[in-house]
Subunit: 226 residues, 2 copies
DNA sequence: TAAACCTATATGTAGTACATAAGTACCTAA
DNA sequence: TTAGGTACTTATGTACTACATATAGGTTTA
């Protein structure tokens, strides 16, 4: 009851200024390359000290929303949408639910990427996969096994040709690693990396989808315990 | 040739301080709830003005990495991993490639979520979907059609029970909306929302996967033109 | 003993001052 | 005339000081 009441968010001036500047940007429909007023002008217009204003600007600068150059002033720029994501992706600080959400997200991505793979794969890609898989047989050490996992699945993401997706996966790796070490490997998968490569090479999309699902089966089973 | 050379990133003191504090947090393996030194102590230790320090802290505060209270000082906290993402997701500023990447991402997610749906769906969910679909037949106006799309597919994300995934979708909606309006609807889908609901209700996972793929077919075809 | 009050302290905000880089315009010399 | 240099101007970057404000924690008082 009373626990549901979270303290009201008393926002600082910097918080408000950040929002106001955001609004300013979208209201004026500013685009990449457009210049902003100077710090002094903004500070005066918003009636805050330059100090507070700079705290807000510092945030936008970090996100890559604005870039500043001495004398030239500030220009609006296209942020790297994953850059900010990267900054908060610290497994150490992540609560367990989010961690599980992200683990599920990985499964959904890999189960759903078959179409992209078949649309974009090249002979060169297949050759690389075969190279990676070749090292699989002497995968006895735990550490080596994980690096093989990363190499193989990472390459799949790469084949999708979707750079955002690939980077996303790279960032999420530490999380995957964490959950992977959570020994739910009692169930052994019936489909190996090697099998997947062969199907990707010669089989059709549907077979691959089925195989991938079988390959990830231990993880999917794990979800049911949740 | 020469165009490939981007200007060297001359970082400000605030940039460096931000990184240093990050390192400090992970090196000391601090966890949620742990307290940080005071601003004065940090500023002195890093040999920067309190001003610069506060610009860096302001960034971490925005990300939700730290929370501050008067007198009590600063405590480390679990950031909302999607909050920062939301801040940069401005279609107005996004370059076209990223936009397309995100559109593909949506398709991958929806093609891959079948297992989660079958794992978590309830009778109540199905009933809600049927409610939504019921309005579909009088979907003549463009605007209404889009709102139906959002309601239906949004509900699917909700059924996955994965809150991160659902929020992710909500944020990405404006992007989807943008790409949707890019008239690649010449190809008509052979599977309607209503069909999907029926299969989700009575059919098995594989049938649903196939049906969803057929439903999204116009979009998948669109990818090939890329 | 409990309520009211005080005090020390850490963050929040403002203002001033100066450093630094980078455009701009002017000026000089070949 | 023009290339190249010089001085000036301006916007951001950094530092320092001062004070406001909230509050945890101790002290006094009824």
């Amino acid at each position: 009851m009373i626990n549901d009441l979270t303290p009201i968010a008393t926002s600082t001036r910097a918080d408000i200024v950040e929002i106001r500047i955001r609004e300013y940007l979208s209201n004026k429909k500013l685009k990449t390359g457009d210049t902003l007023p100077t710090e002094l002008e903004l500070a005066e217009a918003l009636d805050v000290s330059r100090n507070v204003l700079r705290e807000a600007l510092s945030r936008l600068r970090m996100l890559g929303l604005i870039e500043t150059k001495k004398k030239r002033g500030m220009v609006l720029s296209a942020p790297d949408i994953l850059g900010s994501f990267e900054r908060v992706l610290n497994p150490q600080l992540m609560d367990e639910n989010t961690m599980k959400d992200i683990f599920e997200l990985r499964l959904v991505l890999e189960l759903g990427m078959a179409d992209l793979l078949y649309l974009r794969k090249t002979d060169k890609d297949i050759a690389e996969l075969e190279q990676i898989v070749k090292k699989d047989k002497n995968a006895d050490a735990e550490e080596f096994r994980i690096s093989q996992e990363i190499a193989f699945h990472g390459k799949l993401y790469e084949i999708t040709g979707n750079n955002t997706l690939k980077r996303f996966q790279t960032m999420l790796m530490p999380i995957f690693g964490f959950v992977l070490s959570n020994s739910h490997h009692s169930i052994k998968s019936g489909v190996s990396h090697s099998d997947l490569v062969q199907i990707l090479k010669n089989g059709d999309r549907d077979s691959f989808s089925d195989a991938m699902r079988e390959h990830l089966r231990p993880h999917i089973e794990f979800l049911k315990e949740r």
